[in-house]
Amino acid sequence: MKLKKINPTATANDGREATQNPGWIMNRRDFLRQSSLMAGGAALATGMSTGMMRKAQAASEPSQVDAETTTARTICTHCSVGCGIIAEVQNGVWTGQEPAFDHPFNRGAHCAKGAAVREHGHGERRLKYPTKLVDGKWKKISWEQALDEISEKLSQIRQESSPDSVYWLGSAKHSNEQAYLFRKMAAMWGTNNVDHQARICHSTTVAGVANTWGYGAMTNSYNDIHNSKAILIIGGNPTEAHPVSMQHVFKAKEENQAPLIVIDPRFTRTAAHADQYLQLRPGTDVPLVWGMLYHIFQNGWEDKEFIQQRVYGMDDVKAEVAKWTPDEVERVTGVPEEQVYQAAKTMAEHRPGTFIWCMGGTQHTIGNNNTRAYCAFQLALGNMGVAGGGTNIFRGHDNVQGATDLGVLANTLPGYYGLSEGAWKHWSGVWDLDYEWVASRFDQGSYEPKENGQTPVMNTSGIPVSRWIDGVLEKPDHIAQKDALRAMFFWGHAPNSQTRGQEMREAMDQLELMVVVDPFPTVSAVMHNRQNGLYLLPTTTQFETHGSVTASNRSLQWRDQVIEPLFESRTDHVIMYQLAQRLGFEKEMFKHIAVQNDEPVVEDITREFNRGMWTIGYTGQSPERLKKHQQNWGTFDYTSLQAAGGSCDGDYYGMPWPCWGTAEMNHPGSPNLYDTSKTVAEGGLPFRARFGVERDGVTLLAEDSWSKGSEIKDGYPEFTADLLKQLGWWQDLSAEEQQAAAGKNWKTDVSGGIQRVAIKHGCAPYGNAKARAVVWTFPDPVPIHREPLYTSRYDLVSKYPTYADRKSFWRLPTRYESIQARDYSKDFPIILTSGRLVEYEGGGDETRSNPWLAELQQDMFVELNPADANDHGIKEGDDVWVEGPEGGRIRVKALITQRVAAGVAFTPFHFGGYFEGENLRDKYPEGAAPYVSGEACNTAFTYGYDSVTAMQETKCTLCRISKA
């Protein structure tokens, strides 16, 4: 271990009440680790009534020897691996956490976060009661007062502006039921200005992947990596972001001798375990992947039969790839030919190989190009639709997949139905509401031109969460809605996970109403300069309620409630009901959802989305089946996830979607998407026929390929009532099904009859097509390289320029070339990128409030290469300013390490509570500040949005670094 003495006067984090100088540092983990406890448990008492005191004290008591112990089965609320947890409860207090050895995903294992979830039962730093900012001071108020005042203001804004001036920012931390209800609430309110963190984590994946082969999700599973003969990880650091996934990676690495290839600008902890490591310049994924494909095509290593049968447009990719000669790849990415060749050869020789990516690929102005290039790579090698292959996209939050599926997005209703009139009619039908009433809730104006006239607001995508700042600050007549945003809900969101800190602060100050609904105050409570008009409403964690959650592999899991809501917090769905009551649409919203003591019955919500989510097969996972799976964790195979025997016999764990038809149909779920070696009834599938049947005279349907047992031995389009009739299968529907299915298709037939009959004949309800390597509806049909807006290689801009500016993109003017027009690389010579630390998650409000985690990572830092540090006279542990080209700057500690290349700096993004050197700690409500605070790196991150989804660019900007 490397011991270095540091300057004893260099520490200055004041987040702690009693700081001692540590004196020694060893590595990042020990980086200025302080042995003294700061605030610790002392903060328990502040700001609580005696009743709450008792509860909180009870919660921190250890197990009581004589008390009866009950256990609850729940799922970790941190990342998307979905680790099982056994919680032990005594007298209503969460006293023990046991490993769930029989859980099929994690076999009892946890990372630092998962092993520390019991702290949620203490919740010392939680937001404890509804609070309102009055003349700059926090004032405790009642729930009733808070909800009354908020709804009154909302109604006023609705009247004066339009429903679109209220923004509903939802959460990947909601259960599926809460996410669905949240989306429904925005619809009942009458706006598409609803979105959540998926926009800023994997929106480019969802768009890229869904537009390639049909569905926007991880195709295989963490467990299926056991079958991989090679593992390629690009722009992902699972040892920190998804640690338990490495259990599965190591199994393949050891038992299959599967080589692990890591491609990342930073020598991550994952790279430390790699057989091959390629260090690319941030933002050059397309050139690198094309560089690998160059060798694959050059050597004829592609899977020609697979491409002929199941891929459209590979020749166009080939033509683009041909431009990426080894010299050019090295010139642009910085990776030598030998390494690129070796990686390509390894992937070609070890099939099936899996391809894993995360935020390093997605969070770019060309994020959608990156994700589609990854897909093209796997298609070329024939690695799709096969166990051990696939694009294993690791989602971030525990339920970001579920919240995406349930449509907490500005561009779709639940189930990716979109916002067309047909989509609204489908959901109005599921809700049993009059479509005209639903439509009447929206602003009746129209602001987006289309071919023939204007698109109504109801059918126009809303403002994405990445751009809410502009929705507030932009001139109203530049926004494609009646007025700018005037009120915002931050319902489970960390603002410090978003870029452009200075402008965000300005936007927060300009809003008339801010409502934070969260178990913690979050950075939203402190980063503004407001005096009034801000409410903090304490909601619960998922351990204080029950419901379903969707892991990255599309499995739905059921969570038991562990403890009663702490302090005065209420569950999200109770708050939604109470708000809907005040906003006057609770009768419509809860028409078929029973409400008991103001709490909507969770299972009724599950059943309601089961009745509507035909597109992606969220229909077969009834609460009863989900609970049965939860009680039978141990019966599911560790690799295939299929249950052998027992009451779930034949099912795949969590019925990974699509789980077709009604629950009665008993579909087992689809473990690996597009796997034609299984029948559709057994979880097999071809690629989806989503993009028509032909283009320019060339078929888009599969040729000479179909899923096992298909009675149609060729490609076929998606199923409709008419197609069933043409095939002579209409009579297979029962009389009732025929009545429901008439004029419908597999997505809109709510009887499930069309799906049932298609599957009975071995066919996929969505058709059998080719994947498309060319997405003609996107700005770059074949993925091409474009330099970042703030590029370190201005010399490459002329050859690889960004896009033209757009006047209205997701309702807002959006800049590309006007930013790239200026060369910032001289004044800001270092590339700035960001990523995760294992102890924290997201904006970190929750994890930095957990003392078991906070102790391990007490300081915000920037990783600097020794060469850059020496050039700037910076020593380990120095306070430095990191300043971005838009003027945002952060004051952080320097950590000097070879982990980053010269010319690249890395910052974690979980910190908050400081703003450009200013300590905001005193602005938190008493007793609710996290244990550790620090600068939010995104304060210095800059403008830049993906050309399809408006994903923010957080993986590549520029900065300059100077000693503070």
């Binding site: 983990r29 197990s63 020897v65 092993a115 902890r269």
Partner: protein, 217 residues
């Protein structure tokens, strides 16, 4: 009689700190006391490797040999425990320990765990009634008395950290070596036979519940 040991597989340890927070969680270890920690060598450079380290429960424990008040005892299962009432907090064990295991809680309310604190192998303390409040207060949980293994190993994210009877750990590790192809050991030919009998082994690493009776053989 079994010998309880820890083993950390450096090819699998990813420094996720699950073991560290599992320990905090199970034993309510206060801020500033690190019964277990993960050390990393070559941090950020090729050859970076991490290991999770706590008290190794030495068979011939140096701490025990040097303790001036003789507060250490070794249980029949080979777990090294110390009596916090006898301990004088001199720190001599700190000199003797090759692993930096002994911890010395700071002053104030978090010094409540006594003069010296260290990993108990989740076996509570030496002198109190098993699983009593008093034992928990001073030493933390007694999982061994419940027939369980230390939570750090049971929760290890990649099954790098193993705990249990040394013979059992050795068996698990041997299988892993063969699975890896036995590079350099000429064991490649054994691999096929082994994976046929034990295909899903790795997750079983610390899964096997140790019970007092099963270790008594």
């Amino acid at each position: 009689m079994g010998k309880m040991k820890f083993y950390c597989d450096e090819d699998r340890c990813i420094e996720c700190n699950g073991c560290v927070t599992a320990c905090k969680n199970e034993n309510e270890v206060p801020w500033g006391v690190n019964r277990r920690r993960v050390v990393t060598i070559n941090d950020g450079e090729p050859g970076e490797r991490s290991l999770s380290v706590a008290c190794m429960h030495c068979t011939d424990a140096p701490c025990q040999a040097v303790c001036p008040v003789d507060c250490f005892t070794t249980t029949p299962d080979g777990i090294v425990l110390h009596n916090k009432d006898t301990c004088i907090g001199c720190g001599y064990c700190f000199y003797a320990c090759p692993f930096g295991a002994p911890q010395f809680p700071g002053e104030g309310q978090f010094g409540a765990r006594g003069k010296m604190d260290k990993c108990t192998y989740c076996a509570g303390g030496p002198e109190e009634e098993d699983m009593s409040e008093a034992e928990f207060e001073k030493y933390g949980r007694n999982r061994i008395a419940e027939g369980k293994l230390p939570l750090c190993a049971e929760m290890c994210s990649t099954k790098a950290l193993l705990a249990g009877d040394a013979d059992v750990i050795a068996d698990i590790y041997r299988k892993r070596v063969i699975n890896k192809g036995g590079e350099g050991f000429g064991l490649d030919s054994l691999k096929e036979g082994l994976s046929a009998t034990a295909p899903a082994e790795p997750a079983q690493a610390s899964v096997q519940h140790w019970t007092p009776s099963s270790s008594a053989s």
